[in-house]
Symmetry: C2
C-alpha cells in the first residue's frame, strides 16, 4: 500500500474532477470520501457536515474520543467505503491554520546556525536554549500545500533585490485539536488530547533578508513569504508504535516541561533536490519533544485553537549529510527552477512528501 495502508489513514482535503473540496482519508492511492461516508450513516455520532467543508477544522475540534472512534469505523469500512482516485483529484491545504508557531528544537541546528549567524560568539547556543524550547510566531496566511510554486522573495539584503540566499528548512509539524481557554495552560501530560497529527514542513528561508532584519525581534520577511506543508495529516494514533525515548536533557527541565513515557518520533526524513537525495536524518534526534513544545507554548495561558500548526524547527543530525538546510549542508542556495522535496516515513507509515519549485 505504499506507506498508506490501513495502519496509516491520514486525513486531508481533496476535490474530485468537477467536485467540491471535502475531507478525505488517504488509503493507498485513493481518497476515502468522509463526507459521503457520513451521509451514508456510517460515521454515527458525529455532528452533521463534519467533513463537508474544505478544511479538517470541524473534525479537529471534536477531540480524541471522536478521532479514535472514527479511525476504528474507517478501518472497518475500508472494503466498500466511497472513494475516488487521488491521481485525478485536486489535493488542497488540509487545515485552515489559525496560528503558526515555529520552534528551534534541534540542538545541532541551533548550534550550526549560531555559529553561522554569530561567528564572533564563543558559545553558539544562547543561554536560554537548554532551558526552554525557543520559538516564534510565523505567518499563517502563507502556509501553502505541497506543490504550490514558491516565488523568490525580494527584500532588503540589505541592498534591495531578489534574495540570493534562498534556503529550505526540513521540519515536522503538529496540528492541534481542541484548544484551551485563554489563561489555562495545557500540561505536557495532556498532549494526546490536543495533538491530532503530523505533517512535513518546509520552512523556506531567505538567509540574506533574515540576517539583516532579525535583530532584535526575530525572523519576519526572511520566512513569511511561504511555508509548505504536506497534504496528509498523519494521526498521532498511527504514530504511537513509533514513539521512542527522547535524548537526555541536561540540565533537567523545569517541572512543567517534564514528561513520562517515550515522546520522540522515530521518523526517517530526507531532502531531495532536483531528484537527488542530499540529506537523510531522523526526527528522534530532536532535543525538545512535542508535548514539551505544547506545554511551553501555553504555560503563560495562551489559547490554542483547532487547526494551529506547531513546527519543530529545522531537524539536523550530528553527522555530515544529516543537516536540514542548505546552509548547514554547505550547498549552494536555490536557483530558479530548482525543486525541493521532503519525505518522511515511520516504518510502514508514510508522511508522504512536501514539494515546491522555485519561480523567479
Amino acid at each position: 500500500m505504499n506507506g498508506f495502508g490501513a495502519d496509516n489513514l491520514p486525513y486531508g482535503v481533496a476535490a474530485p474532477p468537477g467536485g467540491a473540496p471535502r475531507c478525505v482519508v488517504r488509503y493507498g492511492d485513493d481518497a476515502i470520501d468522509l463526507d459521503a461516508l457520513q451521509r451514508e450513516g456510517r460515521l454515527p455520532g458525529l455532528p452533521e457536515h463534519t467533513f463537508g467543508g474544505a478544511a479538517l477544522n470541524p473534525f479537529l475540534a471534536l477531540g480524541r474520543t471522536a478521532w479514535e472512534t472514527t479511525r476504528a469505523r474507517l478501518q472497518d469500512a475500508l472494503g466498500d467505503a466511497p472513494r475516488f482516485p487521488l491521481a485525478t483529484a485536486e489535493i488542497l491545504l488540509p487545515v485552515q491554520i489559525g496560528d503558526y508557531v515555529d520552534f528551534y528544537s534541534s540542538l545541532e541546528h541551533a548550534s550550526n546556525l549560531g555559529r553561522l549567524f554569530r561567528p564572533d560568539a564563543e558559545e553558539p547556543l544562547l543561554p536560554n536554549w537548554r532551558h526552554l524550547p525557543v520559538a516564534y510566531h510565523g505567518r499563517a496566511s502563507s502556509v501553502v500545500v505541497s506543490g504550490t510554486p514558491i516565488h523568490r522573495p525580494s527584500g532588503q539584503r540589505p541592498g534591495f533585490g531578489p534574495t540570493e540566499a534562498l534556503d529550505i528548512e526540513l521540519e515536522l509539524g503538529f496540528i492541534t485539536g481542541p484548544g484551551n481557554p485563554l489563561g489555562t495552560p495545557i500540561p505536557a501530560a495532556h498532549a494526546r488530547d490536543h495533538v491530532f497529527g503530523f505533517v512535513l514542513v518546509n520552512d523556506w528561508s531567505a538567509r540574506d533578508i533574515q540576517r539583516w532584519e532579525y535583530q532584535p525581534l526575530g525572523p519576519f520577511l526572511g520566512k513569511s513569504f511561504a511555508t509548505s506543508i504536506s497534504p496528509w495529516v498523519v494521526p498521532l494514533q498511527a504514530l504511537e508504535p513509533h514513539l521512542v525515548p527522547a535524548r537526555p536533557q541536561e540540565p533537567e527541565p523545569l517541572p512543567y516541561l517534564r514528561t513520562d513515557g517515550d515522546w520522540a518520533l522515530d521518523i526517517d526524513l530526507e531532502i531531495e533536490l532536483n531528484g537527488t537525495t542530499i540529506s537523510r536524518t531522523n526526527a528522534r534526534g530532536l532535543y525538545w519533544t512535542f508535548p514539551q513544545q505544547l506545554a511551553h507554548a501555553t504555560v503563560n495561558g495562551t489559547n490554542v485553537r483547532p487547526g494551529d500548526l506547531y513546527a519543530s524547527g529545522t531537524i539536523s543530525g550530528p553527522a555530515p549529510g544529516s543537516e536540514g538546510s542548505l546552509i548547514e549542508l554547505g550547498r549552494p542556495f536555490l536557483r530558479d527552477g530548482d525543486t525541493v522535496t521532503l519525505r518522511g516515513a515511520a516504518g510502514e507509515i508514510s508522511l508522504g512528501e512536501v514539494t515546491g519549485t522555485i519561480r523567479g
Copy 2:
C-alpha cells in the same frame, strides 16, 4: 456626540440583550444595526448577509468602493436607522483576526528599549532600524476585546513563576481589507485600497519572560498571553482630515518605502492607570508610517487577508511623561487588580478606549 458623531461612524460587532451578535456602527451611544439596515434594503449593492455574522470580515473583503458607498448611505440614514443602545449591549471583538503583526516604529521607544535590554551596547538602535520598519508576528488567538480580564502569565523569568514585570504597550493598529495574491507585493501608494481602519492596541508584555526568551527569535511567551484592542474600528476615511506630514527620515528610505503626501496620524493618545492619567502622547511622532509598514510587510510577496491586524509598536514621545510603557515611564509594573485604559482621539473623532484589569 462624545466623539462618535456623523463624521466618525466606526464599525464593530455587538449583541443587544437576548440577540445574536451582528455588525454595527457606533453613533453616539447607540449601535446602528447594519444587518437590519441591509434587510430593509437600505444598503443596496452589497452581497446578502454582509453584516449578519459576528465579525466585520465579509465587509472588509469588499474593498474601498463598498466602504465609501456604505459610509455615505449611513450618513444619509442616521435619522431613522434601526438601532439599539450600547449601554445594555454586549460589545465583542470586531474582527476575526488572521495574522497579527507588531511593528517597532517609534524611534524613541526602540531607543529606550535598546538601552534597557542591551545596556552594554554603545548604540541603542540596531543597524537595521532606520532602514526598515522592524516587525514580528504576534499571536492572533489571544487578541481580545477591551474589557476582557488579563490573567497574569507564568513562565520562565528564568526561574518559574508568575511574571513580576507585567507591563503595557500603547499602540495604534490598522485592520486590513482586501488582500493581495501570494507573491504580489502591495505598493505603499495603494495603502488606501487595503487599510480599512484603526483601533487602539494594548500589547501586554511580561518583561522578565521576554528578556529571558527573546534571543535569537524574538518575543514569544512574553507577549502571546493577551493583546487587547478597542472595539470600534475607525475608518481611515474618517481620519483623512487628520493625516499630517510624517517626521523626516534619515537616511532616505529605499524606493519601495517612499510615499507622497501626508501619512502620519494626528491622534492624541493617553494612558490611564487606576483612574490617573500617567502618559500623554501623539501618534504623529511615529518614525515609520502605516503605508510604509504595509509595503514592507508585503514586499516579499506575503499575502494579506481581510481582517489582519498590524500594530504600530509602542508609541513613545521624546518628552518625559509621553512614553508608551511603564518600563519607559519609570513606573512600577502592574499589580493584580490594576486597571489600564488607553484612549485616543483625532479632534472630534474618538477611537474610544481599550481597557483591561489584571487578574492574579
